[in-house]
Amino acid sequence: MSSQNIEVAVAELDMITDVFNRIVSSCHSKCINPRYSEADLNKGESVCVDRCVAKFFEVNKKVGERMQSMGGAGAGGAGGGGSPFGM
């Protein structure tokens, strides 16, 4: 079986990949014109993507701070916010 260390590292890797994929998807929806008349990002899209990533990280930080201030948003605890087991 995997050691504790490996498990923590894999969880961290999953977390980073998940965040990355969500940014790709969210900023694609916000910035990329879905008519696809050209293969390149145009100027407007490129600038939008840069700002979109920056803002996503800001939202990430705000939500994280908020959850921590709710108390006990540590690993494994949903800070009292909704699990089907009421634990």
Partner: protein
């Protein structure tokens, strides 16, 4: 969930699995919440910082999501208790 049919060793292993799953679920909850509040609150990309209006939207979105989840969790638990009672009366 009825864990009484598990042996003590199985039960211990089950607890470890549940703990790991809770951590994974918490991670997904967190990143899903960030995505949800970002999608609802941010749609102006003329600047690279959040406006105060966007920031207040994000905080309300976070608070409201937890209150919503808690309420769903309470109804969910009641429903499960009802189901268990019905199952026991059916015996």
């Amino acid at each position: 969930m009825d864990l009484s049919s598990l042996s003590p060793a199985e039960n211990a292993q089950m607890q470890r699995i549940i703990e790991r799953k809770q951590m994974q679920d918490f991670m997904k909850l967190y990143s899903g919440l960030v995505e949800r509040c970002f999608t609802s609150c941010v749609s102006d990309f003329t600047s690279k910082s959040l406006s105060s209006k966007e920031e207040s939207c994000v905080l309300n979105c976070t608070d409201k999501f937890f209150k919503h989840s808690e309420r769903v969790g309470a109804r969910f638990a009641e429903h499960n208790a009802d189901m268990m009672n019905q199952a026991q009366q059916g015996r």
